[in-house]
Each structure stands twice: as C-alpha cells, then as structure tokens.
C-alpha cells in the first residue's frame, strides 16, 4: 500500500484545481494493472460470506438490474428482414433524412397516443444475458393498464402471470402479492426468473422515452417504411444520441402507424459501457382483446 506520493503532500495545497485533477489522472493512467486488481480484490474480500450476519443486502434493483436484463432484437431472421427492408427503401429513394419538424410532430402525436390511459398490450422479446448465467430468451406479453401498472405474462419461463407495479419515487416494486422495497429484508425472495425491476419498467414508459427524443437526439425520418415482418407502411424515426450519456439509449428506432399514430414497434439500444442499464430490447405493440380488467383488480397498489 505504500506509495511514494507522500513527499509532495505539502505541494498539493498550493497547486491549482486543474493541477490536482491532472495529477490524479496521470496516476490513474500509469497505474499498473496488478495494482488495480489488488485494489479490486481487497474490496471484493469485504463482500461477506453466506451466513455472515453483516452480509450486504443486495438491493432489489441491483440484483435484477445488474444481471443486465436485455431486451434484444428479434433474432437474426428479423434482422435480415430489417436489413432487406432498409436496402429496399434506400434503393427506392424514399429515405428523406433530417426533417425534424415532421419527425417531432410524429413523435409528439405518438407520445400522446401512448399516454392515453387505456390498456396496451406489448409483445416483448427478451434476451437475458446475465453476468453469471447463460443467455436466455424469453417471450412475454406485457399488459399495461396505466403508466405504473403492468401485467407480465411469460410464455416460456417458470413465472406465473403477475401484476407488476413500481413507484420509482417511493422505490418499491410489486410482483403479484408481494412488495419488495429497497433495504427490505424480504428482498431475499425476489422472483429471480423475471429480472424486471423499476428501471426496466421505467424503460417501458415508452411515452416518456419518446418525449426525450427531440431534445438530445438527431432524428432521421422515413415516411414510407415497411415494418419488418409486416406489410404495413409506417413512419420510421431513427433517433441517435447526440452526446454520450450512459443512462440514455444511444439509438432508438420507432415504427409509427401513420393512420392511428400508434407506435407499432420500438427498438432501443443502450450504451454497453454502463452495465447497470438495459442493453437493448425490441417491443412490438399489438392490438388484442384486453385482459380481463378484473385481473388488474387483484392488486390495488397503494
């Protein structure tokens, strides 16, 4: 742990703000990998063993969030269709780039439609690529009754349909009949097969995401795009983040029905640098007979 930096301590008091920062960055740049590794190992050693009463309670969000719940594009065949569709559109010359007023107007209408307090049904293709587990693909239907109430129905996972409710401000999330709160001992029984958390739900507040796009993104507009796997012609808006922000998606692609202004599909790619955010997902919105409203009444979140 000894380091020959103490001799300059008195000088530190006299140096400028920028000098102190630069000195620190120089130390960081020239630090040996072994030094960093030892520092990491010393910290990891403080993570208690099972049964240790002082164990760190992994927060709900950390446990789920940090498994990098990934909602990923709908497999390679869809990507191929996407590529072919894009090529076709470019060939046809219908690609009109950078028409922000039209794009912004479409986004505004799409956000308004999504904000309506009616039940929405989303087909979501989810790939969980855990830090410590193999890649798993899940198909789910996500029923949203309001911006804070969700029903998740996983088709190929050992998860019963359940109500999901979350309140980012008050930091709680509810699955089925149980509520998990931050720093709550009951978090031990969190339904790990689901890997949903507050942040995921926040990401699924699509209307909020759409609201953000005109502010920090370059928008590219395509007014006659074919939705992959579908024959409908849509508005396609591609939003690319102007400045790096690990908490915001680096790229969002929206497919909006020009007749109803209803968003049909959203593709979101997050920065990979920050493991604490979702990497990517595709959600396709599909009109279906809404679930029995009584189902939502099973739970009334307070």
């Amino acid at each position: 742990m000894s380091e020959k930096r103490g001799g300059d301590d008195e000088q530190m008091l006299e140096s400028s703000d920028h000098d102190k920062v630069m000195d620190s960055l120089l130390v960081s740049l020239h630090e040996q990998p072994s030094e960093r590794e030892q520092r990491v190992q010393r910290l990891l050693a403080k993570y208690p063993q099972p049964g240790d009463n002082s164990r760190i309670r992994t927060p709900t969000k950390a446990r789920t969030h940090n498994h990098a719940t990934l909602f990923r594009a709908r497999k390679s065949r869809v990507r191929i269709v996407l590529v072919l569709a894009a090529m076709m559109l470019v060939t046809c010359g219908v690609y009109v780039s950078l028409i922000p007023p039209s794009a912004q107007a479409a986004l505004s209408r799409a956000a308004t439609v999504l904000n309506r307090p009616v039940t929405r049904i989303f087909d979501v293709e989810i790939t969980t690529q855990g830090v410590v587990q193999e890649t798993r693909e899940l198909s789910a239907k996500l029923y949203r009754q309001s911006t804070e109430r969700f029903l998740l129905n996983f088709e190929n996972a050992r998860v019963e349909p359940c109500i999901v409710a979350g309140n980012p401000q008050r930091r709680w999330i509810r699955f089925g009949l149980r509520t998990w709160q931050s720093d709550n001992e009951s978090n031990e029984g969190f339904p790990n097969d689901v890997w949903f958390d507050l942040a995921s739900i926040r990401q699924l507040h699509f209307s909020k995401l759409i609201d953000e796009l005109p502010r920090g993104y370059d928008l590219r507009w395509l007014n006659d795009a074919m939705l992959p796997g579908d024959s409908k012609l849509m508005y396609r808006i591609e939003a690319v983040r102007q400045k790096y922000d690990p908490s915001m998606p680096k790229r969002v692609v929206l497919w909006i029905d020009p007749n109803s202004d209803m968003t049909q599909q959203i593709e979101v790619s997050m920065h990979v640098a920050d493991f604490s955010v979702i990497r990517s997902f595709v959600a396709r919105f599909r009109e279906e007979v809404p679930p029995n409203e009584a189902f939502f009444q099973l739970e009334s979140h307070r």
Binding site: H18, D19, S24, R42
Partner: protein
C-alpha cells in the same frame, strides 16, 4: 441461498470493475495518501451497493458514485486532524467536469477514456515526457528526481506542475473538440 449469494457477489464484482477507475481518479484528486484514497473508495462502493435502489437510472451512475464519494470526502476532511485529505468545492467541480467530459467520449473502459491524456503526453517535449515517466511510472519522488537531475526538489515540483498545466490545456482542447 448460496447460489443467490454467489451470483450477487459476481454482480458486485462487475459493478466494482466497471466503476473503480473513474472513482479512484476522482478520490485521488483530494488526497495523495494511497491508504486514505482506498478507504474512501471502498466505503463509497459499499455504500453505493447498499443504496443501489436509490440510484435513478436516468442519471449517470458514475456521477452518482462521485456524489457519494464527495460527501464521504467532505466528512472525512472535517474530522481529520492533519492535511492528508483536502476537500475543496472548486476542485470537486473541476474533477467532476473533467471526468464527466472524459466519460462523454463514449469509450467502454476508463483506460480508453484516458487515451486523450496519452495523446497529450505523446505531444510533450522529450524531456517533459521523461519527467512524467520518472514521476508517474517509476513513482520517484521530487527529492529523488532532484538528485538525478541536479536541481532542487522545489524546481522539480514546479516543472511537473507546468507540465500538468500543459496537459490540462491539451485535454481541454481535446475534449472540447470531441464534444463539439
């Protein structure tokens, strides 16, 4: 139970590895004592992990960690009986802004984000580069360098300070160009 514990521990490890570089750089701005820096680093990481539910994912995780570290540094500074740790709000702001600008580069790792600094060092005159190497790679003190160069330790410190000023200007230009 053990399975959960193992998994959580591995997630914690990822959390630490992803963030330790930038966080240590921030903490070191306030202290040159390696033990104090590491103690603050560990405390920040453990507190952040316990309070992860309070993190708003719309914000920068790195900035959130720096916020926790800043509070710890300020508290430790008030309690200490010596000057091994010096907290200053303006230094905190400069450190925050500089590290944030480096993170805006979009690289995946902290070392990649430091590549702008590497570029700036490579543009220094040869003698300055040698001094940087001696100080930061070989970790020689100003007194040791003074003996080998044949000038006073104070002169070595001033020369290093001028080099760091040059590097700071270079970094500012570099980051300014990158972020537009």
């Amino acid at each position: 139970m053990n399975q959960h514990h193992d998994r959580d521990r591995k997630i914690f490890e990822v959390f630490v590895r992803e963030n330790e570089g930038a966080l240590m750089a921030y903490i070191r701005t306030f202290t040159r004592d390696a033990q104090i820096a590491e103690d603050l680093f560990q405390e920040t990481m453990l507190i952040a992990w316990r309070k992860f539910d309070e993190f708003d994912s719309r914000e920068s995780l790195s900035a959130w960690l720096r916020g926790i570290a800043k509070n710890l540094i300020r508290n430790a500074w008030r309690k200490q009986s010596n000057d091994r740790l010096v907290f200053d709000e303006s230094v905190a702001n400069v450190a925050q802004n500089t590290i944030e600008a480096m993170e805006m580069q979009g690289s995946d790792t902290w070392l990649e984000r430091l590549s702008a600094l590497s570029d700036c060092i490579s543009r220094l005159p040869a003698r300055s580069r040698e001094l940087v190497t001696a100080r930061y790679v070989d970790k020689r003190t100003a007194e040791e360098l003074a003996l080998s160069v044949g000038i006073s330790a104070e002169a070595v410190r001033k020369r290093l300070q001028r080099i760091r000023e040059q590097l700071a200007d270079c970094i500012d230009r570099h980051l300014g160009e990158a972020t537009g």
